[in-house]
Amino acid sequence: MDNILRSRQLSKHFFQKKALEKVDINIEKGKIYGILGPNGGGKSTLLKLAAGLLKPSSGEIWIDEKKPGVYTKSIVSYLPESNYFYKWMRIRDALAFFKDFYRDFDIEKARENLVFMKLDEMEKISSLSKGMLGRLKLTLALSRNAHLFLLDEPLNGIDPVSREKIIASILNAFNKKSTIVICSHLIYYIEKLLDYIFFLSEGQIILQGNAEELRNKKTMSIDQLYQEVFQS
């Protein structure tokens, strides 16, 4: 199978702290991956390295066999955890921004998603609640026909009703040409989406495997497995 993302001995250190330590991963095209682990485990760092916002301390990472750069940014749709919009923006400005910079951005799809997410184009982004902001970020990220979606904690701060909407949107955006990587510690909600999982703790992969196989082998859900692994 073709890999859309792979890393070899990928490490990232912040001062003395090892956020990632010699991580080897292969992410194949056409699947949904979960990178699961507690806060501070290195999940966001891994996504930021793939998005080109961080550079590795050592080791390498490739997206579609290229190092993160202008090309990879054109095929990667990255959803950061934080509110990254410019302060002056209304929702319609954010749509226009994405349309101007991403050739694969489907503005009609975005408008449909906005309706689905119950968001008004005229609203100022600075006045949105945390849940609405999360829905907006996801709407924009998933309205691209990107090869790789990197979703960093898409459910954080989102109420249970909105979580269901978000999961429906993720499923809707997924097709066999795209790959989705979701980082989260809210396993219960995303478990049903995942084809393959990585458990990441203290910068290292401590467990990985096909989600279905792991469920069968351990005779428990991924959520229960997560509890077992990280409580021990």
Partner: protein, 247 residues
Amino acid sequence: MMSLLKYEIYRRWKWLVIRYAALITLGVIFYNRTVVAPMQYEIAAASMGKFILVSIVVFVIIIVEGINMLKEDLFEQSGYLTFTIPRSGKSILFSKISLLFLQLTFWTIICFQFGKMFFSKLPLKEISQITSQIDFPFFPSILFIMTAFFNFVLMVHFSITLTKTLLYNKKYSGIISVGIFFLLAYLIEKFYYGPFASQIQHVYIEINNTSDMSMLSAGYTSVFMNVILSVIFFSATAYLLENKINI
């Protein structure tokens, strides 16, 4: 590139409008004082002085904003938006510098026009006597000042970028980058402009050549030296933004 420039303008259009509207409005107010009090040269000079003060304040704001344009994206979360779009570091930096250039050009045009209007209200005879005594290459001097400020902004951009690139994991990256800025300023003064300035001095003393031509050529050479430095700092900053960024 135009899209990037468009969003740089969008981000701060209100302040841009306020800034230039204030400069023009105050210019008109001060100029009107000279119109209602013709031949009262003290009033004309005072009004002109106030306009110069206002224009300096606006100029400082433009320069500070020119620095902040990159600083915001490097140190605030909006950087996640700016630095994940598929554009090169060169394009991103160029859009910011282009806006600075446009602002300085606009500022120069406004100040130049008001300058001409104020001068027309001063005693023509005395003014022409003063100007005839000053051997001052006006155009290269303006160019030199403009390029010097570009250099300054690009040097600051370079130093700021260091904190989020090569110095990212250093404990005192902020202080170190400030130190690097001053070190660069010192080195440029000592080894780049210094020898050139002493060469010019030498020519004046030894040959006693103070013709317009030599002044002009010295002025344009200084501008050229500034442009070279600007290109170096621009390329270095763009390279760091493209290849070494950690935000």
